[in-house]
């Protein structure tokens, strides 16, 4: 873009200023919405009742081991990601393929259990 003119005066401003402003605005907003969501989750403003209960097609509920294992693997994956970023805060971490496979398997177990309960086969 080249050097940009300074508003209402002479001289030039850095051409990094708009990019810096945009980056700062994006980062602040993401930090704020993340903190807000985490706060709402921790204080119960977002309803988590029945998180570990599966639904049946007849309207009944049951304690779902599939949901429990999905919750465990989700939390483990999230903790792993954050620990990697805390150790190397200069880039997003490389996610091992093994982790993706484990998560994929966990999703399949969850979906299989849900399908069995809802579709009754």
């Amino acid at each position: 873009m080249g050097n940009l003119p300074q508003p209402f005066g002479g001289g030039r401003v850095s051409n990094q200023l708009p990019a810096t402003l945009i980056t700062t605005a994006i980062t602040l907003w993401i930090a704020a919405i993340t903190a807000l969501m985490a706060w709402k989750l921790l204080t119960g403003s977002i309803d988590l009742r029945g998180l570990l209960q599966g639904d049946r097609a007849d309207g009944g509920v049951y304690f779902s081991p599939g949901r429990v294992q999905l919750l465990i693997f989700t939390v483990l994956a999230a903790v792993h990601l954050l620990s990697q970023v805390a150790t190397h805060p200069d880039r997003f971490p490389a996610i091992p393929h093994e982790l993706l496979l484990v998560l994929g398997g966990s999703q399949l177990v969850y979906l299989g259990g849900k399908a069995r309960a809802m579709l009754r086969f």
């Binding site: 940009l4 003119p5 300074q6 508003p7 209402f8 005066g9 708009p18 402003l21 945009i22 980056t23 605005a25 994006i26 980062t27 907003w29 993401i30 919405i33 993340t34 807000l36 969501m37 985490a38 709402k40 989750l41 403003s45 977002i46 309803d47 988590l48 009742r49 029945g50 998180l51 570990l52 639904d55 049946r56 097609a57 007849d58 309207g59 509920v61 949901r67 999905l70 919750l71 989700t74 939390v75 994956a77 999230a78 990601l81 954050l82 970023v85 805060p89 200069d90 880039r91 997003f92 490389a94 996610i95 993706l100 999703q107 969850y110 979906l111 849900k114 809802m118 579709l119 009754r120």
Partner: protein
């Protein structure tokens, strides 16, 4: 809050218009700067309005994770956790490096897997609600 945002936005439009008309420098560069700053300010204002509305409860997200029949959805919860995790990582990285990071394919794959699970889960839920019950009725309730 919306009215304040409206007045601030109007003030910004007036300022950038004055700059556009009376500022020094090449007209084309001034026009480019004007468009760029005006767009950024409007988007930021909208983002702040949404953020404040969520914080004050004007936009209710209490049922964000709830399924149609009640109870929290595990697939929605997972998608939310991964989104928040990646967002927090993004903030850490930007604060450390002072620039926007490149997003590796594996991160997108992780989000894609979670989003796909959510979509399939919705499909299963919908299929279960449409399936006739043992007494012959199809009423979801």
């Amino acid at each position: 809050m919306k009215q304040s945002a409206l007045w601030i936005g109007l003030a910004v439009v007036v300022v950038v218009t004055l700059y556009m008309l009376f500022g020094k420098g090449d007209p084309m560069e001034r026009a480019q700067l004007t468009m760029m700053y005006a767009t950024v300010v409007v988007i930021v204002l909208y983002a702040v309005v949404v953020l404040v509305a969520i914080a004050t409860g004007e936009i209710s997200i209490g049922a964000l994770l709830s399924e149609a029949g009640g109870g929290a959805s595990m697939s929605r919860f997972q998608l939310l956790i991964f989104t928040l995790t990646i967002a927090m990582s993004f903030v850490f990285i930007v604060v450390s490096t002072k620039q926007l990071p490149k997003v590796p394919t594996e991160i997108l794959t992780l989000l894609g897997v979670s989003a796909s699970t959510y979509a399939v889960s919705k499909g299963i839920q919908a299929g279960g609600e449409l399936k006739p019950k043992t007494d012959g009725s199809t009423d979801k309730n």
